[in-house]
Amino acid sequence: MTASTLERVRSVASDIFGVPVDKITAESSPQTIDNWDSMQHLNLVLAIEEKFGVQLDPEDIEQMKNIGAVATLVEKLQSTPR
């Protein structure tokens, strides 16, 4: 993943979870962010779809185990038109 995609995913996650952006890393996950529950997970999915113009399948959503995985997924989706 590129630094710029990760940066943008971090800033979206910062808004959604209400956590300062410098506290969010590629390793941040539901285990390290208190607010990351199932409803916030949905909100993160929607915000990512909106921000990056992609659509996530249920299988994709299951892969979003941490912020780094989200950024990787976004790049994969952006490079494979469907």
Binding site: D15, L42, N43, L46, A47, E50
Partner: protein
């Protein structure tokens, strides 16, 4: 939608530093500025992430800044939670602090029926009932191919009946506004194209339910129809829906359209909250028309049926549409008055004309000053103004100087402007929405504009008489009838200034007087070259032996000082003489407010007969009277309900 910030269209806009600035301002207790920056952040990037940030900061600001508080409950058959931050952020941009209560998933019937439910305990100002068609009408939606036409009709009737019961029950427990999502039609009906060949197809029944919901809604006060079917169609059913989210999260709407749903709700919440605009002030050059009239000349500006002029005509149509809802239009333009007026009056492509504008400020003064004056002239608050200008500098200047004005957003401040978006910007702006319309709303623009022309015209005449002749006034006198009874009684009750006796009468009292043969109850209507004033005056007189006494004589302040009063009095005198009376008499009973009528009898040749503590009695000898209707007023006298001959003014 793809992120538009990455390619640095706006050098000066950095979302991270704007967020940091908001937090810094809150930390320094600069709440009003923080609030404005937060609204700017939302304006520039209205998205889910921004909404979460905006609502979290709004929770810190809400007790510190002036916002209109509204409580919204959403009853639903699908996931709406992701829309809650969006609708709260959008409301904040309209100056509304929206508290949202979301009913449990699919418990909307229990919530409505149980008077003790969390819905009613929340005491909402507005309730949205958002039920998907497949849940409201499952038989019609899923099993339509199995239904006989009779069974389908019964199913539709059951759906309508359920809604009717829910609405009635809701009204028993709450006076809150109720906004009901209509049902969407299937994008692929079960019988394919055959479905649209008859009214009894799947779509036909859904439409029938929607029509019934409209009808039922109209029978209740404060029940409104949100046309969900049209909303989906507007954005395109295939784009609107996200089947994957529906199956995994019970969220039927795609991420890119959640904001559109929230904005549709705002079109109801803004008018319900009263945060509406009463007037829209528009710029001229490159806003109302293309080009600069001072440089290009009237022939050189662009407005007409062909592009690019067509884009400006589209905006002008949008302006006319909102003015029909009672929203006043005004002009604020840095221009030479003569150039601008020539374009407004003479350019063949213009759909709006000077007469459509209730106020004009065409000068080189700073726009915020002009907006202040316009608000004063129209007698409305500055917060009731909206402002449309193609120039981002002017928009920012107004935003900074008058933050209470609704500045219409045109996207991409730094890009070449696109006049095609102006009409949409006006039509999409919730401050111009209205949920009901009165007859007065529909005529307000004409009334203001005519008033403005009258006062403008008056200044340009050498003498009053010239002005009166120019006005081409027509007055129509008729005996009070059942059609005019309510208005006549209302005028006696509320007219204070030009009212000689200030006697207040109820409708039954007026009706009783009119039945007596020796009493005359007359009303007068006035129109002139600028418009119709309607029924604006009343005279009541009764014969007593040799004299006729004026019991009541009043005119609405809209028409006083234009000699209509002379026409009315002259008619009383002439008709009394025709009935063989020798004198016309009348009291002037002074009040705190009727000074404008004090010298009325004296000015018309009456002599003071007596005076007491309550007033003075005046008399006119009808044999020697020279009182006539002024010849510049065309007077029409009706007898009973049918119009009699038109008599020339100043007759025999």
């Amino acid at each position: 939608m793809a992120d538009s910030n990455s390619n640095s269209k706006r050098a000066e806009y950095d979302p991270a530093s704007l967020r940091a600035e908001v937090d810094r301002l809150i930390a320094h207790s600069a709440f009003d500025v923080a609030s404005r920056r937060l609204a700017e952040l939302w304006r520039r990037d209205p998205a889910s992430g921004t909404a979460s940030f905006v609502t979290s900061r709004l929770d810190e600001l809400r007790s510190k800044v002036a916002l209109t508080k509204v409580k919204l409950a959403i009853l639903r058959s699908f996931t709406v939670e992701p829309m809650v931050p969006l609708v709260r952020a959008e409301a904040f941009a309209y100056g509304i602090d929206l508290a949202v209560h979301v009913g449990d998933f699919n418990t909307y019937i229990q919530d409505i029926v149980d008077g003790q439910s969390s819905l009613y305990r929340f005491a909402p100002n507005a309730v949205i009932l958002a039920v998907r068609a497949d849940q409201a009408a499952p038989e019609l939606w899923r099993d339509f191919a199995d239904l006989t036409p009779e069974a389908a009709a019964q199913a539709a009737a059951r759906v309508v009946h359920s809604y009717e019961q829910w609405i009635a029950t809701f009204r028993k427990h709450s006076q809150s506004a109720l906004i009901i999502h209509s049902l969407e039609r299937p994008s692929s009906p079960s019988l394919g194209v055959l479905d649209s060949q008859s009214e009894t197809g799947q779509s036909g029944f859904i439409l029938q339910i929607n029509r019934e919901l409209q009808r039922i809604g109209a029978t209740f006060h404060g029940v409104y129809n949100l046309d969900y079917d049209a909303l989906v169609a507007r954005h395109g059913s295939e784009h609107w829906h996200d089947e994957r989210k529906w199956l995994t999260a019970r969220l039927p709407i795609a991420a890119s359209h959640l904001l559109d749903m929230a904005r549709e709700w705002m079109r109801f919440i803004v008018p319900l909250s009263g945060r509406t605009a009463k007037a829209l002030v528009v710029d001229l050059d490159n806003t109302l028309w293309g080009g600069v009239v001072g440089e290009d000349g009237v022939a050189g500006i662009q407005v007409g049926p062909e592009y690019p002029g067509a884009a400006y005509q589209a905006l002008q149509r949008a302006l006319l549409d909102i003015s029909r809802k009672g929203i006043l239009l005004a002009v604020c333009s840095k221009n030479n008055l003569d150039d601008a007026m020539e374009a407004l009056e003479k350019h063949p492509g213009m759909l709006v004309r000077a007469k459509h504008f209730a106020a004009l400020r065409i000068n080189w003064t700073d726009k915020s000053q002009n907006l202040r004056e316009i608000a004063e002239e129209l007698n409305i608050g500055i917060d009731a103004l909206a402002f449309l200008d193609d120039n981002p500098f002017e928009r920012e200047q107004v935003r900074a100087a008058l933050p209470e004005v609704t500045v219409i957003d045109l996207s991409h401040n730094d890009l070449p402007k696109n006049p095609l978006e102006y009409a949409t910007a006006i039509r999409d702006c919730a401050v111009f929405e209205r949920l009901t319309l009165s007859a007065e709303d529909q005529q307000r623009t004409e009334m203001y504009a005519a008033q403005k022309q009258r006062s403008g015209a008056e200044q340009s005449f050498q003498s009053k008489e010239d002005f009166f002749r120019f006005l081409e006034q027509e007055a129509e006198l008729e005996p009070m009838s059942s059609l005019t009874l309510a208005r006549v009684a209302q005028l006696t009750q509320k007219t204070n200034q030009f009212n000689l006796t200030t006697r207040r009468y109820t409708e039954p009292q007026i009706a009783e007087m009119a039945k007596q043969p020796e009493w005359q109850v007359l009303s007068i209507r006035v129109r002139d070259r600028f418009g119709d004033h309607g029924l604006v005056g009343v005279a009541i007189a009764h014969d007593q032996g040799e004299q006729c006494e004026v019991d009541t004589f009043l005119l609405s302040c809209r028409v006083i000082g234009r000699t209509v009063e002379t026409a009315l009095l002259a008619h009383l005198a002439e008709s009394a003489a025709q009935r063989g009376r020798k004198r016309l008499v009348g009291w002037f009973l002074p009040t705190k407010k009727n000074a404008p009528a004090r010298d009325f009898y004296q000015q018309h040749g009456f002599e003071r007969q007596e005076a007491n503590g309550s007033g003075s009695l005046w008399t006119l000898d009808l044999n020697s009277s020279t009182l006539r209707c002024p010849d510049w007023i065309k007077l029409k006298v009706s007898v009973g309900n049918s119009a009699a001959e038109t008599r020339p003014g100043g007759k025999n």
